[in-house]
Amino acid sequence: MNRIRTPALLAALLALALPAQASAHGIGQRADLPIPLWLFAWAAAFVLVASFVALTVLWPKPVLANLRERTLGRAPLALEALAGALGVFGFAVIVYAGLAGSQTATANLAPTAIFVLIWVGVPFLSVVFGDVFAVVSPWRALGRGVGWAASRVSGGLPAPIPYPDWLGRWPAALVILCFAWIELVWSGRESPSSLAIAALLYAALMLLGMSCFGTEKWCRNADGFGVAFSLFALLAPLDWNGRRCSLRAPLVGALKMPNVAGSVAVVCVLIGSTSFDGFSQGTVWTGASGLAQQLSDLFSSLGIGAGGAVELAYTVGLLLIIALISGLYRLALVGMNRTGAGKPSVDELARGFAHTLIPIAFAYVVAHYFSLLLFQGQAVVFLISDPLGDGSNIFGTSTAAIDYSLLSANAIWYAQVAALVIGHVAALVLAHDRALVTWSSPRVAVRSQYWMLLVMVAFTCLGLWFLSAAAS
């Protein structure tokens, strides 16, 4: 017992002896947290190890694939048509507001609708109600509407070009990367008219792709928003198969992640871009001699203008963090492959375990953006009455204000930590269950997951470091 107690006591004394984290440059600090922020990472790592041990002991056979869904009912066809029409109308309002309204970002509906309501709000709706974006997607609704009209008038559209299997979801990964670049790097991101033009260009690209490869095939593979939201929807208790709705056990939906090329890239870009959003707000990146400044100076010295150098520095940062996330996942796969004596191959494992990243991607969204949704989401109440920012008051709510006292900074931190821990424990559960299916020997299956555990701990600590850095 002394062998355990002595190091534990020394560790506790060391923790108490360390100086408090310097926060001279900080604003909006959390107050009165009982332990230093970094100790939350240690606690989270402990929870993950304890969960891993519990899974090893209590989960000896694959379970998730055997759980059955229960049919609840069918949604009426009219509801689907109505949701599609609503999606097209909403898209038109956002684009019109961006083009014709005030060019002050906070006074115009377009930036808040795109960056908060859609990009952050829809994932939250998706993990509760299922793939809601599929029914309100404006381009999918238009594509289906055109198909329906063509079938009535001329007996249908010509057969689409077969979608290449090798392309898979790579276009969606590229779309998400481009959107992340717009959100986190582009200097024009706060210009409502620029955003509206980007939205129109994207809609045109979607319509072109659908006309070539067919509405469903294109939306399932190339629409970055549709693909990302459909992945989050796999975590929902409600499963929509067409208009039929079923109830399923938690995490079972993740097993349905399509095994197509580019799926891993989609999730890695989602996690990496969210991580970079946190990292780019910390002093390591933004400080006076931070990485952003040093990279900008480097690009400036190569003759690039000041604005371009900053954008290039942020682009490099974004790509490096995505590469880091992809590299960590790859490390887990290589470790698993070695434990399993080379079978299955690393690429097979990459596709087989890709679904384990979905809860992590959602955990990162919650951790990084739920406070944004909670506070900036309230702006929709007054922006909906005055979408152009021209002083109109359509619904009588244009004088509403954002209530920043809804949740304290400490409560937000606890929610962020909880989201990260729950997300990574869920990922461990999915990986453990899949390992038991992949390897016939439970001992090999458990040993293969040592690597996954290490990478999950790394993801959790990295996520908490980014979050703590963003607040310091």
């Binding site: 310097a22 922020l37 390591v284 290490l454």
Partner: protein, 46 residues
């Protein structure tokens, strides 16, 4: 590029986030090694 060695208090905590990863990594490496040795012994006994 220069490492920001001054103002240690601003960044030392980043290393503390790394510590659990290193500790668990070392623990898992030790455990794997022990299991590999045991499997080797079992094969030799057979």
């Amino acid at each position: 590029m220069t490492l920001p060695l001054a103002h240690l208090g601003h960044w030392y905590h980043a290393l503390l986030y790394l510590a659990p990863i290193l500790l668990i990594g070392a623990g898992l490496w030790w455990s794997s090694r022990r299991e590999a040795k045991r499997a080797q012994r079992e094969r030799a006994d057979d």
